[in-house]
Protein backbone atom coordinates (compact mmCIF):
# COMPACT_ATOMS: atom_id res chain seq x y z
CA UNK A 1 0.00 0.00 0.00
CA UNK A 2 1.10 3.53 -0.44
CA UNK A 3 2.65 5.24 2.49
CA UNK A 4 1.58 8.74 1.63
CA UNK A 5 2.81 11.62 3.61
CA UNK A 6 0.39 14.56 3.62
CA UNK A 7 2.71 17.13 2.12
CA UNK A 8 2.18 19.78 -0.55
CA UNK A 9 -0.03 19.73 -2.61
CA UNK A 10 -2.01 16.97 -0.91
CA UNK A 11 -2.49 18.53 2.49
CA UNK A 12 -4.13 21.77 1.32
CA UNK A 13 -6.41 19.89 -1.10
CA UNK A 14 -7.65 17.52 1.55
CA UNK A 15 -8.03 20.37 4.03
CA UNK A 16 -10.01 22.32 1.42
CA UNK A 17 -12.30 19.37 0.86
CA UNK A 18 -12.88 18.97 4.56
CA UNK A 19 -13.52 22.72 4.85
CA UNK A 20 -16.19 22.59 2.11
CA UNK A 21 -17.96 19.67 3.72
CA UNK A 22 -17.81 21.14 7.20
CA UNK A 23 -19.00 24.59 6.20
CA UNK A 24 -21.81 23.15 4.09
CA UNK A 25 -23.12 21.11 6.99
CA UNK A 26 -22.60 24.00 9.44
CA UNK A 27 -24.59 26.32 7.17
CA UNK A 28 -27.42 23.81 6.94
CA UNK A 29 -27.44 23.41 10.69
CA UNK A 30 -27.64 27.19 11.35
CA UNK A 31 -31.16 27.76 10.06
CA UNK A 32 -33.97 25.59 11.40
CA UNK A 33 -36.29 24.36 8.66
CA UNK A 34 -39.60 25.91 9.61
CA UNK A 35 -40.90 26.05 6.05
CA UNK A 36 -44.13 24.52 4.91
CA UNK A 37 -47.87 24.70 5.20
CA UNK A 38 -49.14 24.85 8.79
CA UNK A 39 -52.72 24.48 10.01
CA UNK A 40 -54.77 24.70 13.18
CA UNK A 41 -58.41 24.32 14.08
CA UNK A 42 -59.32 27.00 16.60
CA UNK A 43 -59.23 30.77 16.24
CA UNK A 44 -58.42 31.26 19.92
CA UNK A 45 -54.91 31.38 21.26
CA UNK A 46 -53.44 29.17 23.96
CA UNK A 47 -52.44 30.74 27.28
CA UNK A 48 -48.76 31.36 28.00
CA UNK A 49 -46.85 29.17 30.46
CA UNK A 50 -46.60 32.12 32.86
CA UNK A 51 -47.52 35.77 33.05
CA UNK A 52 -50.46 37.72 31.65
CA UNK A 53 -52.26 36.05 28.76
CA UNK A 54 -54.57 37.31 26.00
CA UNK A 55 -58.12 38.61 26.32
CA UNK A 56 -60.41 35.57 26.33
CA UNK A 57 -64.04 34.97 25.45
CA UNK A 58 -66.29 35.20 28.48
CA UNK A 59 -69.33 33.85 26.68
CA UNK A 60 -69.56 30.11 27.33
CA UNK A 61 -71.79 27.45 25.91
CA UNK A 62 -73.86 25.20 28.16
CA UNK A 63 -71.08 22.59 28.03
CA UNK A 64 -68.52 25.10 29.31
CA UNK A 65 -66.76 25.63 25.96
CA UNK A 66 -66.11 29.15 24.78
CA UNK A 67 -68.89 30.24 22.43
CA UNK A 68 -67.09 31.09 19.20
CA UNK A 69 -70.37 32.33 17.71
CA UNK A 70 -70.65 35.13 20.28
CA UNK A 71 -67.41 36.98 20.90
CA UNK A 72 -67.43 38.80 24.22
CA UNK A 73 -63.91 39.57 25.41
CA UNK A 74 -63.22 39.90 29.13
CA UNK A 75 -63.23 43.67 29.39
CA UNK A 76 -62.58 43.36 33.13
CA UNK A 77 -59.12 41.94 32.45
CA UNK A 78 -56.97 44.12 34.76
CA UNK A 79 -54.21 44.49 32.19
CA UNK A 80 -56.47 46.53 29.86
CA UNK A 81 -56.23 50.31 29.95
CA UNK A 82 -59.60 52.08 30.33
CA UNK A 83 -59.57 52.91 26.58
CA UNK A 84 -59.00 49.29 25.61
CA UNK A 85 -61.51 47.93 28.14
CA UNK A 86 -64.19 50.27 26.74
CA UNK A 87 -63.48 49.06 23.22
CA UNK A 88 -63.60 45.40 24.21
CA UNK A 89 -66.93 46.01 25.99
CA UNK A 90 -68.33 47.91 23.00
CA UNK A 91 -67.55 45.01 20.68
CA UNK A 92 -68.85 42.47 23.17
CA UNK A 93 -72.14 44.36 23.48
CA UNK A 94 -72.61 44.15 19.69
CA UNK A 95 -72.09 40.39 19.87
CA UNK A 96 -74.53 40.02 22.75
CA UNK A 97 -77.21 41.68 20.59
CA UNK A 98 -76.77 38.81 18.12
CA UNK A 99 -74.84 40.85 15.56
CA UNK A 100 -71.39 40.40 14.10
CA UNK A 101 -69.07 43.35 14.61
CA UNK A 102 -66.78 44.25 11.72
CA UNK A 103 -63.22 42.98 11.94
CA UNK A 104 -60.34 42.98 9.44
CA UNK A 105 -61.18 39.47 8.24
CA UNK A 106 -64.85 40.06 7.49
CA UNK A 107 -64.21 43.54 6.11
CA UNK A 108 -61.55 42.32 3.66
CA UNK A 109 -59.08 44.68 5.27
CA UNK A 110 -55.38 44.03 5.69
CA UNK A 111 -54.51 42.01 8.77
CA UNK A 112 -51.44 42.59 10.88
CA UNK A 113 -49.73 40.72 13.66
CA UNK A 114 -51.02 39.63 16.08
CA UNK A 115 -54.53 39.48 14.55
CA UNK A 116 -52.98 37.43 11.72
CA UNK A 117 -51.98 34.82 14.27
CA UNK A 118 -55.66 33.87 14.58
CA UNK A 119 -55.61 32.52 11.03
CA UNK A 120 -56.07 28.79 10.61
CA UNK A 121 -53.60 28.22 7.81
CA UNK A 122 -50.22 29.74 7.25
CA UNK A 123 -47.35 29.01 4.89
CA UNK A 124 -43.83 29.91 5.93
CA UNK A 125 -41.25 30.37 3.18
CA UNK A 126 -37.62 30.79 4.19
CA UNK A 127 -35.44 32.74 1.78
CA UNK A 128 -31.84 33.89 2.20
CA UNK A 129 -32.59 37.47 3.26
CA UNK A 130 -36.24 37.27 4.22
CA UNK A 131 -38.95 35.06 5.50
CA UNK A 132 -42.29 35.35 3.73
CA UNK A 133 -45.44 34.37 5.61
CA UNK A 134 -48.63 33.70 3.66
CA UNK A 135 -52.02 33.48 5.36
CA UNK A 136 -55.08 31.67 4.12
CA UNK A 137 -57.77 34.29 4.56
CA UNK A 138 -57.61 36.77 1.76
CA UNK A 139 -54.06 36.14 0.58
CA UNK A 140 -52.36 38.16 3.30
CA UNK A 141 -48.59 38.33 2.89
CA UNK A 142 -45.91 39.38 5.38
CA UNK A 143 -42.29 40.04 4.52
CA UNK A 144 -39.81 39.65 7.40
CA UNK A 145 -36.39 41.09 6.61
CA UNK A 146 -33.69 38.93 8.13
CA UNK A 147 -30.76 40.22 10.17
CA UNK A 148 -31.71 43.84 9.74
CA UNK A 149 -32.90 46.56 12.08
CA UNK A 150 -36.04 48.62 11.95
CA UNK A 151 -35.45 51.92 10.17
CA UNK A 152 -34.81 54.87 12.51
CA UNK A 153 -38.10 56.33 11.33
CA UNK A 154 -40.78 53.73 10.57
CA UNK A 155 -43.59 54.86 8.33
CA UNK A 156 -46.70 53.06 9.63
CA UNK A 157 -48.09 50.50 7.24
CA UNK A 158 -50.77 47.84 7.42
CA UNK A 159 -48.26 45.05 7.94
CA UNK A 160 -45.90 47.10 10.04
CA UNK A 161 -42.14 46.71 9.76
CA UNK A 162 -40.99 43.18 10.60
CA UNK A 163 -37.37 42.14 11.08
CA UNK A 164 -36.21 38.70 12.07
CA UNK A 165 -33.22 36.60 13.01
CA UNK A 166 -32.53 33.06 14.13
CA UNK A 167 -31.52 32.17 17.66
CA UNK A 168 -30.51 28.54 17.46
CA UNK A 169 -33.65 26.61 16.63
CA UNK A 170 -35.94 29.64 16.89
CA UNK A 171 -36.96 32.30 14.40
CA UNK A 172 -37.56 35.59 16.22
CA UNK A 173 -39.72 38.19 14.45
CA UNK A 174 -40.03 41.74 15.78
CA UNK A 175 -42.79 44.00 14.45
CA UNK A 176 -43.51 47.68 15.00
CA UNK A 177 -45.11 50.44 12.96
CA UNK A 178 -48.50 48.83 12.37
CA UNK A 179 -50.97 51.39 11.05
CA UNK A 180 -54.23 51.92 12.94
CA UNK A 181 -57.30 51.68 10.73
CA UNK A 182 -61.08 51.63 11.19
CA UNK A 183 -61.27 47.95 12.16
CA UNK A 184 -57.87 47.49 13.74
CA UNK A 185 -57.76 45.01 16.58
CA UNK A 186 -55.25 42.59 18.07
CA UNK A 187 -57.67 39.70 18.47
CA UNK A 188 -61.13 38.29 17.77
CA UNK A 189 -62.69 40.40 20.53
CA UNK A 190 -62.08 43.88 19.21
CA UNK A 191 -59.21 44.62 21.62
CA UNK A 192 -57.67 47.75 20.10
CA UNK A 193 -54.06 48.68 19.57
CA UNK A 194 -52.30 52.00 19.09
CA UNK A 195 -49.27 53.18 17.16
CA UNK A 196 -47.15 51.94 20.09
CA UNK A 197 -47.87 48.28 19.27
CA UNK A 198 -44.78 46.06 19.45
CA UNK A 199 -45.06 42.32 18.79
CA UNK A 200 -42.30 39.74 19.21
CA UNK A 201 -42.99 36.27 17.81
CA UNK A 202 -40.80 33.22 18.42
CA UNK A 203 -41.27 30.30 16.02
CA UNK A 204 -39.85 26.85 16.68
CA UNK A 205 -40.58 23.24 15.89
CA UNK A 206 -41.93 21.03 18.67
CA UNK A 207 -42.49 17.29 18.71
CA UNK A 208 -45.58 16.05 16.95
CA UNK A 209 -47.27 14.57 19.99
CA UNK A 210 -46.95 17.80 22.00
CA UNK A 211 -48.34 19.73 19.06
CA UNK A 212 -51.32 17.38 18.67
CA UNK A 213 -51.97 17.52 22.42
CA UNK A 214 -51.90 21.34 22.39
CA UNK A 215 -54.27 21.41 19.38
CA UNK A 216 -56.73 19.06 21.02
CA UNK A 217 -56.60 20.94 24.33
CA UNK A 218 -57.38 24.19 22.54
CA UNK A 219 -60.20 22.63 20.53
CA UNK A 220 -61.79 21.25 23.73
CA UNK A 221 -61.73 24.72 25.25
CA UNK A 222 -62.60 26.87 22.24
CA UNK A 223 -64.20 24.64 19.67
CA UNK A 224 -63.09 23.83 16.15
CA UNK A 225 -63.62 25.83 12.97
CA UNK A 226 -65.60 24.43 10.06
CA UNK A 227 -63.27 22.59 7.74
CA UNK A 228 -60.13 20.65 8.62
CA UNK A 229 -56.90 22.58 8.32
CA UNK A 230 -54.59 20.68 10.68
CA UNK A 231 -53.37 17.27 9.54
CA UNK A 232 -53.67 15.05 12.60
CA UNK A 233 -52.51 12.05 10.58
CA UNK A 234 -49.12 13.62 9.92
CA UNK A 235 -46.68 12.39 12.53
CA UNK A 236 -44.14 15.09 11.83
CA UNK A 237 -43.22 17.95 14.11
CA UNK A 238 -45.51 20.85 14.91
CA UNK A 239 -44.73 24.55 14.74
CA UNK A 240 -45.27 26.63 17.84
CA UNK A 241 -45.27 30.42 18.06
CA UNK A 242 -44.87 32.10 21.40
CA UNK A 243 -45.63 35.76 21.03
CA UNK A 244 -45.56 38.80 23.29
CA UNK A 245 -47.53 42.00 22.76
CA UNK A 246 -46.68 45.40 24.22
CA UNK A 247 -48.75 48.50 23.69
CA UNK A 248 -48.80 51.11 26.44
CA UNK A 249 -51.89 52.68 24.90
CA UNK A 250 -53.96 49.50 25.33
CA UNK A 251 -52.21 47.35 27.93
CA UNK A 252 -50.78 48.11 31.35
CA UNK A 253 -48.25 45.30 30.90
CA UNK A 254 -47.01 43.10 28.08
CA UNK A 255 -48.89 39.87 27.62
CA UNK A 256 -48.14 36.65 25.81
CA UNK A 257 -49.93 33.82 24.08
CA UNK A 258 -49.14 30.65 22.20
CA UNK A 259 -50.21 29.36 18.78
CA UNK A 260 -49.58 25.74 17.86
CA UNK A 261 -49.82 24.42 14.33
CA UNK A 262 -49.70 20.96 12.87
CA UNK A 263 -48.77 20.33 9.27
CA UNK A 264 -51.51 21.80 7.11
CA UNK A 265 -53.78 19.69 4.98
CA UNK A 266 -54.28 21.67 1.83
CA UNK A 267 -54.16 25.34 1.03
CA UNK A 268 -57.67 26.77 0.82
CA UNK A 269 -58.23 29.64 -1.60
CA UNK A 270 -60.24 32.18 0.36
CA UNK A 271 -61.11 35.35 -1.53
CA UNK A 272 -62.57 37.87 0.86
CA UNK A 273 -63.95 40.11 -1.89
CA UNK A 274 -66.28 37.29 -2.91
CA UNK A 275 -68.17 37.23 0.35
CA UNK A 276 -68.56 39.46 3.37
CA UNK A 277 -69.86 36.57 5.48
CA UNK A 278 -68.32 35.98 8.83
CA UNK A 279 -68.01 32.24 8.52
CA UNK A 280 -68.19 31.48 12.20
CA UNK A 281 -71.34 33.43 12.95
CA UNK A 282 -72.82 33.29 9.45
CA UNK A 283 -74.18 36.79 9.78
CA UNK A 284 -73.56 39.76 7.47
CA UNK A 285 -71.64 42.48 9.23
CA UNK A 286 -71.97 46.13 8.23
CA UNK A 287 -74.31 45.76 5.29
CA UNK A 288 -73.87 48.90 3.17
CA UNK A 289 -76.87 51.19 3.27
CA UNK A 290 -77.60 54.13 0.99
CA UNK A 291 -79.49 56.74 2.97
CA UNK A 292 -78.38 59.51 0.67
CA UNK A 293 -76.94 59.64 -2.84
CA UNK A 294 -73.17 59.32 -3.00
CA UNK A 295 -72.89 61.72 -5.91
Amino acid sequence: MFNVRLTWPVAPLVAAAQFLLVTASARDAEVPDLSGLWGRQSLDWEPPATGPGPVVNTKLRANGMRDSDTRVGDYNNPMLTPFAAAEVKRHGDISLKGETFPNPANQCQPQASPFLLTQLEMELLQQKDEVVLLYMIDHQVRHVRLNQKHPAHVVPSWSGDSVGHYEGDTLVVDTIGVKVGPFSMVDQYGTPYTGALHVVERYRLIDGQSARDAEQRNEKLSGSAMGRFADFENNGKGLQIQFTVEDSGSFKSPWSAVVTYLHGREWLEFICAESPYDYVTGKNPQIPTANKPDF
Binding site: L13, L20, S35, L134
Partner: protein
Protein backbone atom coordinates in the same frame (compact mmCIF):
# COMPACT_ATOMS: atom_id res chain seq x y z
CA UNK B 1 16.34 12.54 -6.30
CA UNK B 2 14.40 10.75 -8.94
CA UNK B 3 13.03 8.26 -6.37
CA UNK B 4 12.02 11.10 -3.98
CA UNK B 5 10.25 13.01 -6.74
CA UNK B 6 8.53 9.85 -7.85
CA UNK B 7 7.15 9.21 -4.33
CA UNK B 8 6.02 12.84 -3.96
CA UNK B 9 4.43 12.79 -7.39
CA UNK B 10 2.54 9.60 -6.59
CA UNK B 11 1.50 11.17 -3.30
CA UNK B 12 0.31 14.30 -5.06
CA UNK B 13 -1.75 12.29 -7.55
CA UNK B 14 -3.32 10.33 -4.74
CA UNK B 15 -3.95 13.50 -2.78
CA UNK B 16 -5.64 15.22 -5.74
CA UNK B 17 -7.65 12.08 -6.35
CA UNK B 18 -8.61 11.87 -2.69
CA UNK B 19 -9.62 15.52 -2.58
CA UNK B 20 -11.57 15.12 -5.81
CA UNK B 21 -13.39 12.16 -4.37
CA UNK B 22 -14.35 14.36 -1.44
CA UNK B 23 -15.03 17.63 -3.28
CA UNK B 24 -16.57 16.55 -6.57
CA UNK B 25 -19.52 14.59 -5.19
CA UNK B 26 -20.41 17.58 -3.03
CA UNK B 27 -20.23 19.89 -6.02
CA UNK B 28 -21.97 17.42 -8.27
CA UNK B 29 -24.79 17.01 -5.79
CA UNK B 30 -25.36 20.76 -5.99
CA UNK B 31 -25.28 20.81 -9.80
CA UNK B 32 -27.26 17.66 -10.68
CA UNK B 33 -30.47 19.63 -11.29
CA UNK B 34 -29.40 23.24 -11.60
CA UNK B 35 -32.36 25.57 -11.75
CA UNK B 36 -32.31 29.17 -12.89
CA UNK B 37 -32.30 31.64 -10.02
CA UNK B 38 -35.30 33.95 -10.37
CA UNK B 39 -35.04 35.33 -6.85
CA UNK B 40 -35.47 39.04 -6.16
CA UNK B 41 -38.18 41.56 -6.86
CA UNK B 42 -38.75 42.07 -10.57
CA UNK B 43 -40.35 45.26 -11.86
CA UNK B 44 -41.35 47.14 -14.96
CA UNK B 45 -42.47 50.68 -15.63
CA UNK B 46 -45.33 49.90 -17.98
CA UNK B 47 -48.65 48.12 -18.03
CA UNK B 48 -50.11 45.90 -20.75
CA UNK B 49 -48.20 43.08 -22.44
CA UNK B 50 -45.53 43.48 -25.09
CA UNK B 51 -46.31 42.27 -28.58
CA UNK B 52 -44.88 38.89 -29.60
CA UNK B 53 -42.26 38.79 -32.36
CA UNK B 54 -44.78 37.01 -34.62
CA UNK B 55 -48.20 35.38 -34.66
CA UNK B 56 -51.57 36.52 -33.27
CA UNK B 57 -51.23 39.34 -30.79
CA UNK B 58 -52.95 40.54 -27.61
CA UNK B 59 -55.40 43.43 -27.85
CA UNK B 60 -53.96 46.93 -27.86
CA UNK B 61 -55.52 50.28 -26.94
CA UNK B 62 -57.00 52.01 -29.99
CA UNK B 63 -56.77 55.36 -28.19
CA UNK B 64 -53.02 55.21 -27.80
CA UNK B 65 -50.46 55.82 -30.50
CA UNK B 66 -46.71 55.35 -30.47
CA UNK B 67 -44.79 57.76 -28.27
CA UNK B 68 -47.92 59.06 -26.58
CA UNK B 69 -46.61 60.63 -23.36
CA UNK B 70 -49.79 60.09 -21.36
CA UNK B 71 -49.12 57.67 -18.52
CA UNK B 72 -50.71 54.25 -18.73
CA UNK B 73 -52.56 53.34 -15.55
CA UNK B 74 -52.80 55.43 -12.38
CA UNK B 75 -56.06 56.92 -13.52
CA UNK B 76 -55.77 56.24 -17.22
CA UNK B 77 -56.00 59.71 -18.76
CA UNK B 78 -56.65 57.94 -22.05
CA UNK B 79 -59.78 55.76 -22.28
CA UNK B 80 -59.20 52.02 -22.52
CA UNK B 81 -60.60 50.95 -25.88
CA UNK B 82 -59.41 47.50 -26.91
CA UNK B 83 -59.13 46.82 -30.64
CA UNK B 84 -62.40 44.97 -31.09
CA UNK B 85 -61.51 44.51 -34.76
CA UNK B 86 -58.66 42.18 -33.84
CA UNK B 87 -59.40 39.26 -36.21
CA UNK B 88 -58.61 36.77 -33.46
CA UNK B 89 -61.72 37.71 -31.48
CA UNK B 90 -64.87 35.66 -31.89
CA UNK B 91 -67.99 37.78 -32.55
CA UNK B 92 -69.45 37.79 -29.02
CA UNK B 93 -66.06 38.60 -27.51
CA UNK B 94 -65.54 41.41 -30.03
CA UNK B 95 -68.94 42.80 -29.06
CA UNK B 96 -68.01 42.75 -25.33
CA UNK B 97 -64.72 44.53 -26.03
CA UNK B 98 -66.47 47.14 -28.21
CA UNK B 99 -69.08 47.80 -25.52
CA UNK B 100 -66.44 48.17 -22.79
CA UNK B 101 -64.49 50.53 -25.02
CA UNK B 102 -67.55 52.67 -25.73
CA UNK B 103 -68.26 53.01 -22.02
CA UNK B 104 -64.66 53.93 -21.31
CA UNK B 105 -64.58 56.45 -24.15
CA UNK B 106 -67.73 58.07 -22.74
CA UNK B 107 -65.85 58.87 -19.53
CA UNK B 108 -66.93 55.93 -17.39
CA UNK B 109 -64.39 53.83 -15.52
CA UNK B 110 -65.26 50.18 -16.10
CA UNK B 111 -65.05 47.88 -13.10
CA UNK B 112 -62.06 45.57 -13.30
CA UNK B 113 -60.28 43.29 -10.80
CA UNK B 114 -57.88 46.07 -9.85
CA UNK B 115 -60.46 48.70 -8.97
CA UNK B 116 -62.90 46.16 -7.48
CA UNK B 117 -60.33 44.48 -5.25
CA UNK B 118 -61.29 41.20 -6.90
CA UNK B 119 -58.75 38.46 -7.57
CA UNK B 120 -56.31 39.30 -10.35
CA UNK B 121 -56.72 36.02 -12.17
CA UNK B 122 -54.14 35.11 -14.79
CA UNK B 123 -53.54 36.30 -17.50
CA UNK B 124 -55.02 39.67 -16.42
CA UNK B 125 -52.53 39.69 -13.58
CA UNK B 126 -49.62 40.14 -16.02
CA UNK B 127 -51.16 43.11 -17.76
CA UNK B 128 -51.58 45.29 -14.70
CA UNK B 129 -49.10 44.19 -12.05
CA UNK B 130 -45.86 46.10 -12.31
CA UNK B 131 -43.87 43.65 -10.24
CA UNK B 132 -43.46 40.02 -9.32
CA UNK B 133 -41.44 38.13 -6.74
CA UNK B 134 -40.85 34.41 -7.24
CA UNK B 135 -40.12 32.27 -4.22
CA UNK B 136 -38.63 29.05 -5.54
CA UNK B 137 -39.17 26.20 -3.12
CA UNK B 138 -38.47 22.51 -3.59
CA UNK B 139 -41.95 21.42 -4.66
CA UNK B 140 -43.65 24.67 -5.49
CA UNK B 141 -43.09 28.19 -6.61
CA UNK B 142 -44.99 30.97 -4.92
CA UNK B 143 -45.42 34.10 -6.99
CA UNK B 144 -46.22 37.34 -5.20
CA UNK B 145 -47.56 40.39 -6.98
CA UNK B 146 -47.46 43.76 -5.18
CA UNK B 147 -50.81 45.27 -6.04
CA UNK B 148 -53.10 43.94 -3.33
CA UNK B 149 -50.72 41.12 -2.44
CA UNK B 150 -51.93 38.69 -5.05
CA UNK B 151 -50.49 35.20 -4.62
CA UNK B 152 -50.16 32.37 -7.12
CA UNK B 153 -48.95 28.90 -6.30
CA UNK B 154 -47.33 26.64 -8.88
CA UNK B 155 -46.87 22.96 -8.03
CA UNK B 156 -43.63 21.71 -9.50
CA UNK B 157 -43.30 18.49 -11.44
CA UNK B 158 -46.95 17.61 -10.89
CA UNK B 159 -49.89 17.22 -13.24
CA UNK B 160 -53.30 18.88 -13.18
CA UNK B 161 -55.87 16.83 -11.29
CA UNK B 162 -58.24 14.84 -13.52
CA UNK B 163 -61.06 17.08 -12.37
CA UNK B 164 -60.02 20.67 -11.74
CA UNK B 165 -62.25 22.68 -9.45
CA UNK B 166 -62.19 26.20 -10.87
CA UNK B 167 -60.57 28.76 -8.60
CA UNK B 168 -59.60 32.41 -8.86
CA UNK B 169 -55.97 31.70 -9.74
CA UNK B 170 -56.64 28.42 -11.50
CA UNK B 171 -54.56 25.29 -11.14
CA UNK B 172 -50.91 25.90 -12.06
CA UNK B 173 -48.24 23.26 -12.51
CA UNK B 174 -44.68 23.91 -13.54
CA UNK B 175 -41.35 22.40 -14.43
CA UNK B 176 -37.94 23.57 -15.56
CA UNK B 177 -36.66 23.03 -19.07
CA UNK B 178 -33.01 23.96 -18.80
CA UNK B 179 -32.91 27.68 -18.14
CA UNK B 180 -36.67 28.13 -18.53
CA UNK B 181 -39.51 27.75 -16.07
CA UNK B 182 -42.65 26.52 -17.82
CA UNK B 183 -46.02 26.97 -16.10
CA UNK B 184 -49.30 25.53 -17.31
CA UNK B 185 -52.59 26.87 -15.93
CA UNK B 186 -56.17 25.72 -16.37
CA UNK B 187 -59.34 26.01 -14.30
CA UNK B 188 -59.55 29.78 -13.79
CA UNK B 189 -62.95 30.54 -12.26
CA UNK B 190 -65.05 33.32 -13.71
CA UNK B 191 -65.99 36.06 -11.28
CA UNK B 192 -68.04 39.21 -11.93
CA UNK B 193 -65.06 41.13 -13.35
CA UNK B 194 -62.74 38.40 -14.66
CA UNK B 195 -61.10 39.54 -17.87
CA UNK B 196 -58.08 38.67 -19.96
CA UNK B 197 -56.73 42.20 -20.21
CA UNK B 198 -57.48 45.81 -19.29
CA UNK B 199 -59.98 46.17 -22.14
CA UNK B 200 -62.62 43.87 -20.77
CA UNK B 201 -61.81 41.01 -23.15
CA UNK B 202 -63.79 38.13 -21.68
CA UNK B 203 -62.49 34.67 -20.94
CA UNK B 204 -64.21 31.35 -20.39
CA UNK B 205 -63.40 28.49 -18.05
CA UNK B 206 -61.80 26.73 -21.05
CA UNK B 207 -58.90 29.17 -20.87
CA UNK B 208 -55.49 27.50 -21.01
CA UNK B 209 -52.42 29.56 -20.23
CA UNK B 210 -48.78 28.62 -20.76
CA UNK B 211 -46.01 30.77 -19.36
CA UNK B 212 -42.28 30.54 -20.02
CA UNK B 213 -39.89 32.50 -17.81
CA UNK B 214 -36.17 32.92 -18.41
CA UNK B 215 -33.41 35.30 -17.52
CA UNK B 216 -32.13 37.59 -20.27
CA UNK B 217 -29.25 40.02 -20.35
CA UNK B 218 -29.68 43.61 -19.21
CA UNK B 219 -29.23 45.16 -22.66
CA UNK B 220 -31.97 42.99 -24.21
CA UNK B 221 -34.26 43.69 -21.26
CA UNK B 222 -33.69 47.45 -21.52
CA UNK B 223 -34.38 47.43 -25.25
CA UNK B 224 -37.58 45.38 -24.91
CA UNK B 225 -38.83 47.65 -22.13
CA UNK B 226 -38.10 50.84 -24.03
CA UNK B 227 -39.77 49.53 -27.16
CA UNK B 228 -42.86 48.63 -25.17
CA UNK B 229 -43.00 51.93 -23.29
CA UNK B 230 -42.90 53.85 -26.58
CA UNK B 231 -45.99 51.98 -27.67
CA UNK B 232 -47.86 51.47 -24.41
CA UNK B 233 -46.86 54.51 -22.39
CA UNK B 234 -45.05 54.84 -19.05
CA UNK B 235 -46.40 53.66 -15.69
CA UNK B 236 -44.03 54.79 -12.98
CA UNK B 237 -40.29 55.33 -12.97
CA UNK B 238 -38.84 52.75 -10.61
CA UNK B 239 -35.03 52.51 -10.73
CA UNK B 240 -33.50 49.23 -11.88
CA UNK B 241 -30.48 47.50 -10.45
CA UNK B 242 -27.69 47.67 -13.03
CA UNK B 243 -26.03 44.60 -11.52
CA UNK B 244 -28.73 42.29 -12.82
CA UNK B 245 -30.21 41.38 -16.18
CA UNK B 246 -33.87 40.90 -16.91
CA UNK B 247 -36.60 38.33 -16.44
CA UNK B 248 -38.72 37.71 -19.49
CA UNK B 249 -42.10 36.03 -19.56
CA UNK B 250 -43.58 34.75 -22.80
CA UNK B 251 -47.13 33.55 -22.44
CA UNK B 252 -49.66 31.92 -24.71
CA UNK B 253 -53.41 32.05 -24.22
CA UNK B 254 -55.84 29.57 -25.73
CA UNK B 255 -59.58 29.94 -25.24
CA UNK B 256 -61.66 28.50 -28.07
CA UNK B 257 -64.79 30.23 -26.72
CA UNK B 258 -63.21 33.67 -27.11
CA UNK B 259 -60.33 33.51 -29.61
CA UNK B 260 -60.17 31.87 -33.01
CA UNK B 261 -56.61 30.77 -32.34
CA UNK B 262 -54.00 30.90 -29.53
CA UNK B 263 -52.10 34.15 -29.17
CA UNK B 264 -48.92 35.10 -27.37
CA UNK B 265 -47.51 38.06 -25.53
CA UNK B 266 -44.41 39.00 -23.60
CA UNK B 267 -43.55 40.81 -20.37
CA UNK B 268 -40.03 41.98 -19.57
CA UNK B 269 -38.96 42.82 -16.03
CA UNK B 270 -35.74 44.01 -14.46
CA UNK B 271 -34.62 43.82 -10.84
CA UNK B 272 -35.76 46.82 -8.85
CA UNK B 273 -33.82 48.55 -6.11
CA UNK B 274 -37.00 49.64 -4.34
CA UNK B 275 -38.34 47.77 -1.33
CA UNK B 276 -41.58 45.83 -1.67
CA UNK B 277 -44.40 48.36 -1.80
CA UNK B 278 -47.50 47.78 0.30
CA UNK B 279 -50.51 48.40 -1.94
CA UNK B 280 -53.80 47.68 -0.23
CA UNK B 281 -56.85 47.63 -2.47
CA UNK B 282 -59.40 47.66 0.35
CA UNK B 283 -58.20 51.09 1.39
CA UNK B 284 -59.56 52.83 -1.64
CA UNK B 285 -61.94 51.87 -4.41
CA UNK B 286 -61.81 55.26 -6.06
CA UNK B 287 -60.29 55.29 -9.50
CA UNK B 288 -57.74 58.04 -9.06
CA UNK B 289 -58.69 59.94 -12.20
CA UNK B 290 -61.18 61.35 -12.89
CA UNK B 291 -62.25 60.62 -9.29
CA UNK B 292 -65.33 58.55 -9.85
CA UNK B 293 -66.63 55.86 -7.53
CA UNK B 294 -67.01 52.54 -9.24
CA UNK B 295 -69.72 50.06 -8.43
CA UNK B 296 -70.93 51.92 -5.36
CA UNK B 297 -73.01 49.45 -3.35
CA UNK B 298 -76.70 50.23 -3.38
CA UNK B 299 -79.47 48.84 -1.21
CA UNK B 300 -82.54 48.95 -3.43
CA UNK B 301 -84.22 46.24 -1.40
CA UNK B 302 -83.58 44.60 1.94
CA UNK B 303 -81.12 41.73 1.82
CA UNK B 304 -83.01 39.80 4.48
Amino acid sequence: MHAVLGRSFRGAILGVGLASVLILPALAAQNVNPIPDFSGVWWRNAMDPELPPSGPKPLVNLMRHDNDPHPNGGGDPLPLVGDYNNPNLKPKAAEAVKKAGELSASGRINPDPSNQCAPFSPPYIFTIQLGVQMLQEKDEIVMLYPQDDQVRRVRLNAGHPKKVTPSAMGDSVGHYEGDTLVIDTVGVKLGPVTMVDRYGTPQSEALHLTERYRLIDAADAKEAMERHQRRAGPAGAAPFDPNYGGLQLQYTVEDPNVFTMPWSAQITYRRTMLPWAEQVCAENIVEYWPGMNIGVPKAGKPDF
